[in-house]
Structures are given as structure tokens and as C-alpha cells.
Amino acid sequence: MTAFIARRLLQAVFVMLVVSLIAFALFRFVGDPVAQMVGQETSLADQARLRASMGLDDPVLVQYGRFLQRLVTADFGYSYRTRQAITEMILSRAPATIELGFVSLLVSLIIGVPAGIYTAIRKHGVLANAILILTLVGISVPTFVIGIGLITVFGVQLGWLPTFGRGDTVALGGWNTNFLTLDGWRSILMPALTLGVYQLTLTMRLVRAEMQGVLKSDFIRFARARGIDYSSLYLNHALRNTLVPVITIVGLQFGGVIAFSIVTEAVFQWPGLGLLFLDSIRYVDIPVMSTYLVLIALMFVTINLLVDLSYALIDPRVRLPGKGS
């Protein structure tokens, strides 16, 4: 098992290195950093001096090394567009995205997992079929359409919920949170639902597929032949075996949530990291783009690693050596 962990760690490091390389390449070779920073009046000589002082004339490898170093110390540089320190920008906008992601993940799990189990057990039935059809729609309707739909109904027609922005937030130390005010909750509701629907549908379908597979297995058949209570069969035996691969998927879901938050934040003008990234694409703000890239990759890699490790903890076949047959 230590070999397993070590291998996964190495894999993670490798991926991060490659991603940081891509980010560095972005930084260095797309567009001209100096041209971005100076006005039109700056003389060429001044530009050359600026270039040298920024270390842009040093060998590529050295620059890459410096880049890595800065990354590791969380010094992400400055935005071309706003001239702000990127670290600051990220820290100020992160809470918005994290809270949004958290609520939608919660929604998708609380509804998705039970729905998946239900539709796997009750294969035919009005409710089961209805759920299945809804999920089909759920993965086919783009996130932004859902968002617009919700805005139209609850924001425009009924006027119940605010249609953009974060609403009132309360500052807890450096963290602005939505959770402590009513307006905050009202504001986060629609975006969270929008984001959550897609994840919910995916989770549900995956849980259903896995569980159906498990229910056909020999050990379930044998348990049934021993007269084990059906509820125990489903919830103790089958569910346990289903959840093992589902954990992987849920881990990835969280990543998906962060990724799709880009769209949701755009629709609802939610001031989070996604909107930040989107603006950076529009204005070709390279430092922000590459920072976002590295951060997202880091998050995915970490989640994957944690998921794999949890696999090792949960599945005894990985933990303990077997005898084989």
C-alpha cells in the first residue's frame, strides 16, 4: 500500500509540474509582458531596461525556476488589467465561489445519491421513470439556460429572488459569507440550484449505474439465497459496494462544480473566481489566466489524491494483502 500511495503522489507531482510548465509558457510566450505593462510613450530603450530588470532576458530554464519558486510561495504576480496583486484578487473572490460550490455540491449529493439508489432498486414505476426523464433533461439543458430559466421565473415574473450579485454578506475576518443574512441566502439560492442541477443529474445516473451493476453480482444473489432482509441487502451490502466507486465520482464532481461555476457566475454576475477567469480570457489577462490554471489543476490533483487514498482505506483488498485463489 505504501507503494500505491507513493506512486499516486509522484503522479500528482508530475501533473503539477506539467501544468506549471504550461502556465509558465503562457506567461512568457503569449503576448508580451512588457508591452502589456507600459504605455505607448515609453521608449524602446526603457522597454529594454524594463525587460532586463524583470529578468526576461535570462535563459528560459532560469525563468521557469523563478516562476516555480514564486508559485510555491504563492506570489502570483500582478494582473495586466487591474494592476492588482493577483493573490489579493483571488483571496477576496474565493469565498464567493467556495460557498457557491459547497451549497451546490450539498444539493447534488443530498438529492442525487438517494435518487440514484431509488431508481436502481425500483426499476419500473412511475416515480422512477419520472426521475429518469428529469435527469435526462438535467444533463441536456446547458447550465446557463437553467440559470436564465430560474431568473425568468423567480426573478422577473415572481420577483421573489434577486437576479444578480451576492446580496448582503457578512465579513468574518477576511472571509465574506452569504450564510449569515437572509438576503445572502436568497441570493445564493438560484445560482446554487443552477450549478447543482447538472451535478445532481450526473451523480444520480452514476449511482444508479453502479448500483444496478452491483445488484446483479453473485454475492448479492447469495445473500438473497440466505434470506437476508431486502432492506439490509440494498442498504448494507449493495450500497457499500456501490459507494466505493461513487466516491471517486463525487470527488471529481467537486472539481466539476468549480469549473462550471464559471458559467453560473457569468449568468448571475456572481463575483467569484469564475467571473475573474472569464474576464481574464476576454481581456487576455495572461497572469490571471495562468494562475487560475495552476490553482484549478492543484485542486483537482489534490482531490484525486484524496479520493484515491480514501479508496485505499475503504477497500480492504487494497489495504491488506490477499491470498488469491
Binding site: F219, A223, Y230, G324
Partner: protein, 598 residues
């Protein structure tokens, strides 16, 4: 119905709703099991044995139902029960165990927990008492160190041990009847014997009834008091084992017993077996027309193929040094090491290799058959893979026709041995590309080795070869999935022959086939060898089969060659202890009175 009759089945008919219509799987089954006895249910594939077992348990799939007849358990009728009522009976009065111990146990739950849960499902006792009972059971089923091992997970047990755990699980609720569906098929012969002995002991001690479902006649002879022979969903014959199998009344039973390979004497052929190829096809509604429908390719005949092969033999013979001492294949101190996982990620995750073969030395004389026998993990398949170049030896040498046989990695793609040595595999389903027609499958070696290029010539040759292996020429146009296992193996044999080989390696070619079909294929192989002077390396785990087909016998154990001797000498007086052990553990039919040996 006598006082101690546990289970009485009368006129049981089970049908399934398929998209082809209503399909009757079994019809009019009569069966009775007494307490303290084992009733064997034997038949070839498609006979419906498992269906009967599932019907008794109420575990038929949703598309199946009991259409007629009755199933009575100690006076209680079962056939009309709803699932809830049946579920209460399951485990507490009737229990079932399945074939594969690997998949029968939930890998994520400790066996102790699985046992305790089952016990407490049917009895109102607390956890500690349940645990004590579980330990006692594990003891009873022969798990050493039960008190410690009870907290282990299934994968920490070996195959045989796992099946014991399965039996313990089936017993822990004290059922009156156990249905065992092929309980030892997935196990090695020695382990199989232990499990069967265990079953017999439990039956005697607890006075339960067991229905033992199997296709293996030897198992029946060893264990069952009574036997019912099934064919195509109907009872052919039933009664005390000695009578039914020793002096069968029905033709089918006689033919079946004639097909079972014996250990006592070696016969030149299996005689009196089901010769009809259609016996091989599933279902009684098959039209014979599809078998002999008169489709012929112009000029194609078995004679053509036969002449073609004979010419090849003569050509091969003429090219050889007449003074060759007759050893076609020589294996010299061959070793193969597996699974040394290279590198992984920068050296992490490297595994030490497993030695599949260790300094094995064998030889095969031209025109004879060498039988290589061993249990799983003995390295017999590895031997075949090394010779055909799929696997590289780590040391040692191979010689074919006095020339060095290079290891697979360095063997050129056009090396002559690739044509002269052909391999027939165990799995008839995976050995043919299911997307190719039979014609295309068979044409491949013909074209590849350049035996013919003209399309009609190829066709003629292929059709002729099909006839030579006793398949209808019309098979050309069909796909593998339209044929049964035995027929596919014939196609595989035809494919091998179309390369014009001198050595045929057969890796467990009949292990996946029914007994009658196995006899047919073995006859075919022998005939081919006699007619065309083919040499054969026959790999099997079944000593009885090897007894019938091999001229010399080699026994492998965990990669080591244990014994290498001519057939008669080996089976009369094997020298190595392991050989003797294997011989004694193989279920023998010698216990039948007046056996049907000709």
C-alpha cells in the same frame, strides 16, 4: 412420499418469456430428496439443471415462472408462494451455494460480520452468541484457526477455503435442504475432493438433504446416493446412482457414460457416444436442416483436404534427415519468470517475479501425443505460451525439429515455426473473432502462409477442411456466435490445420465443453493424428482425459516437472508422491458396478 422425504418435486415445468416467445426451459421434472442423502442432478449444458435449482429456491429471474407442477418441502407447497413468503424460507429452511467462491462473498465485509448477520437474520440471539456459533461453524467446515480468521476479509482466503466459508454461510441457519450448484467446478481436483468430503460429512452428521448440480459424472459417482439425468430440460433417467450410471437403461445415459474418459484402461477411441453433431446444439426445437442442408462448394470435399494435408506431411518428411531420432520438440531446462513489474513509477511498485516454470525438461516424439497435466498455477499454459512465442523464457532452450526455437521476443514474424506449430485454445468463445464469418476466419491462415491466393481456391480449401472436421460446408457463411462450443472448437481445429502444421498444441481444448462433445473432439484429434502424422502437445488438468489421449505424460506442479513417463507406466505405477496424490484425488468411476467399459 416416505416419512423422511424432505423435498418432493412433481411435474415441474418452468418457462421463460423471451423476445422470441415463450421458452420452456424444463418440463415434467420429478425429483425427490430424502433427509441425510445427496441427490445428484447431472446433465450437459442447456439441460436445465440450474433452472431447477433456482425454481426450488424461488430465485428465478423476473422473466421466468413455474408454469406447472409442484414443489413440496416436508409437506409445505412452495410453487405458489409469493416472494415475501419464499424469502422467509430462504436461509432458514432451504439454502443455496454457487459455483464461484471468488464472487460469492461480499469483498468489503469481514466474513465474521457476514456470518453473524446471516445467523441473526433467522434466529433471535445476541451478537456474542452469534459470533460463537459462527466460529464453531468455521471449525466444522475445516477452517483452521477459526477464532482469528473470522475477522478476515474474503480475499485473504484461498479458493478452497473460500468455498468452505460459503458452505459455512449456507449452514449457519440450519437449513434442512441445501442446493449446491456446481460447487466444485471452479476448484482444483484435490481441493474439490476435500469439499466433497466435507459435504458428505455434513450431510451425514446433520441429516440434511443436498441437491448437487453438476456436469461432472465423477463428482456424482463420488457423492450422490441418487441421481437424475437431464437432457434438454427433461428427465432422461433417475434412480440410485449405482444403477443409473452403472447399468443405464436409457440410450442417452449409455452414450453419456461412454463419453466419460476412464482412468482404468486406455481406449483407441470413445465408442458408443453421441455421434450426432446436432446433439451439440442447444434446444430440442432445432431444425436439422441447418446441419445438413446440402450446401456445397464446387470441388470441395473432405478428401481434398485430406490429400492436401497428406502431401504436406510427405513434403515435410522428405525434407528431414532420416536419421533424426524422432524427437520433434525438445524442451531443455526451460524457466519462465512472470510479473516482475518493471519500473511502475520510477521504480516504485516493482514486484518480484513469479516463477511459472522452473528448469523443465521434456521431449515429444514425432507422431505422438505428450500430455501435460497439472493443477492451476502449475505452469502448463505458460509452457504452451513459451513454445508459441507469446512469452519469453528467462532461461533454458527449446528445439523444434533439431533447430533452435528462438524466444518469442526475437522470433521473426515469418519464422517457419509459426506455421509448423499451431495452438488450439481452451475458450471456444474468445478464440474466434466474432466479427468474422467462418470463411474469413479460416481463410486467414491460408492467405497468410501463402497456401493459396486465388479466391475460389481458398474457398474450396476452406470448405473441404470444414468437412474434414465434420462441420457442414454451409458454416462458411455463418458467424461464430451461431455455433455451439464444440462446433467452434472444430472450426478452431480447422483453422490450425489450414496452416499445415506438424505440431498441434492443444491448451485445455475440451475443458469448457460438455462430456459428449469432449469425447467427439478427442476422437477427432486422434483421427487427425493417425491420418496425418501430427504430433500433439495436449495440456489438461483432467488426468482421465490425459489417460485416454496421451502417449507420454508429464506432470507439473508449481512450475516444476514432477514426473515424465509413458502412459501405461504412469497410470499403472506412478513414481512421484505428487503424481500418486493427483491420481488418488481424481474422482474415479471404478466404483460403479458393471461399468460400461467395452
Amino acid at each position: 412420499m416416505t416419512a423422511d422425504t424432505l423435498l418432493e418435486v412433481r411435474g415441474l415445468t418452468v418457462s421463460f418469456t423471451t423476445r422470441f416467445g415463450e421458452f420452456t426451459a424444463v418440463e415434467g421434472i420429478d425429483l425427490s430428496v430424502a433427509a441425510g442423502s445427496i441427490h445428484g442432478l447431472v446433465g450437459e449444458s442447456g439441460a436445465g439443471k440450474s433452472t431447477i435449482g433456482a425454481a426450488i429456491m424461488g430465485l428465478l429471474p423476473t422473466s421466468g415462472r413455474i408454469a406447472a407442477g409442484s414443489v413440496t418441502l416436508a409437506g409445505l407447497p412452495l410453487q405458489d408462494l409469493d416472494d415475501a413468503a419464499w424469502h422467509r424460507l430462504r436461509g432458514s429452511r432451504v439454502s443455496m451455494i454457487f459455483q464461484d467462491p471468488q464472487t460469492s462473498l461480499n469483498p468489503l465485509i469481514r466474513i465474521g460480520d457476514q456470518l453473524v448477520e446471516t445467523i441473526r437474520q433467522h434466529a433471535d440471539i445476541d451478537e456474542d452468541d452469534a459470533r460463537r456459533r459462527a466460529i464453531a461453524l468455521l471449525d466444522e467446515t475445516g477452517i483452521h484457526d477459526a477464532a482469528t480468521r473470522i475477522d478476515d476479509y474474503p480475499h485473504q482466503f484461498s479458493g478452497g477455503m473460500r468455498q468452505r466459508v460459503v458452505i459455512a454461510l449456507a449452514l449457519c441457519t440450519d437449513p434442512e435442504l441445501i442446493i449446491a450448484d456446481e460447487p466444485t467446478t471452479a476448484l482444483d481436483v484435490a481441493v474439490q475432493q476435500q469439499i466433497l468430503d466435507l459435504l458428505k460429512r455434513l450431510v451425514a452428521e446433520r441429516q440434511i438433504g443436498v441437491i448437487l448440480i453438476t456436469h461432472d459424472i465423477g463428482v456424482i459417482v463420488e457423492t450422490s446416493d441418487r441421481v437424475t439425468v437431464l437432457r434438454h430440460g427433461r428427465v432422461v433417467e433417475s434412480g440410485p446412482t449405482q444403477r443409473v450410471l452403472g447399468s443405464p437403461a436409457a440410450d442417452y445415459t449409455r452414450a453419456l457414460m461412454a463419453a466419460v474418459p476412464r482412468m482404468e484402461t486406455r481406449l483407441p477411441r470413445f465408442r458408443g457416444i453421441l455421434d450426432d453433431v446436432s446433439a451439440d446444439l442447444a434446444g430440442p426445437d432445432v431444425r436439422q436442416a441447418s446441419v445438413a442442408d446440402g450446401f456445397r462448394v464446387t470441388g470441395a470435399s473432405a478428401e481434398l483436404a485430406s490429400d492436401w494435408l497428406l502431401r504436406a506431411r510427405d513434403d515435410a518428411g522428405a525434407a528431414h534427415d532420416v536419421t533424426r531420432d524422432g524427437a520433434l520438440l525438445e524442451i531443455d531446462e526451460l524457466s519462465v519468470t512472470f510479473g516482475a513489474r518493471g519500473g511502475g513509477w520510477f521504480g516504485i511498485g516493482r514486484r518480484d517475479g513469479v516463477q511459472a516454470l522452473r528448469n523443465v525438461t521434456l521431449s515429444l516424439a514425432a507422431g505422438t501425443t505428450l500430455g501435460v497435466v497439472g493443477e492451476s498455477g502449475s505452469g502448463k499454459s505458460t509452457l504452451a505460451k513459451a513454445i508459441t512465442g507469446l512469452v519469453d523464457p528467462s532461461s533454458g532452450a527449446m528445439r523444434f525439429d533439431a533447430a533452435t526455437l528462438p524466444p518469442g521476443g526475437t522470433r521473426r514474424r515469418d519464422h517457419a515455426s509459426r506455421r509448423r506449430i499451431q495452438l488450439i485454445f481452451q475458450d471456444p468463445y474468445a478464440s474466434l473473432d466474432s466479427r468474422f464469418t467462418v470463411e474469413r476466419i479460416l481463410a486467414e491462415p491460408v492467405r497468410h502462409y501463402g497456401h493459396a491466393t486465388n479466391r475460389s481456391e481458398v474457398r474450396r480449401l476452406v470448405a473441404s477442411m470444414l468437412e474434414l472436421v465434420e462441420m457442414p460446408q454451409s458454416a462458411l457463411r455463418k458467424y461464430p456466435h451461431q455455433f455451439s462450443g464444440g462446433q467452434r472448437q472444430r472450426v478452431a481445429v480447422a483453422r490450425a490445420l489450414l496452416a499445415r502444421p506438424e505440431l498441434l498444441i492443444a491448451d485445455e481444448p475440451t475443458s469448457a465443453l460438455d462430456v459428449s462433445v469432449q469425447a467427439q473432439i478427442l476422437n477427432l484429434l486422434r483421427d487427425l493424428q493417425d491420418s496425418f502424422g501430427l504430433s500433439m502437445l495436449f495440456i489438461s488438468h483432467d488426468l482421465a482425459v490425459v489417460r485416454q489421449i496421451a502417449d507420454t505424460v508429464a506432470v507439473l506442479k508449481d512450475g516444476d516437472l514432477v514426473e515424465f513417463a509413458p502412459n501405461e507406466r504412469f497410470f499403472a505405477a506412478a513414481e512421484a508422491p505428487y503424481s500418486r496424490y493427483l491420481l488418488s484425488e481424481t474422482p474415479s468411476l471404478a466404483g460403479l458396478d458393471g461399468g460400461t467399459v467395452h
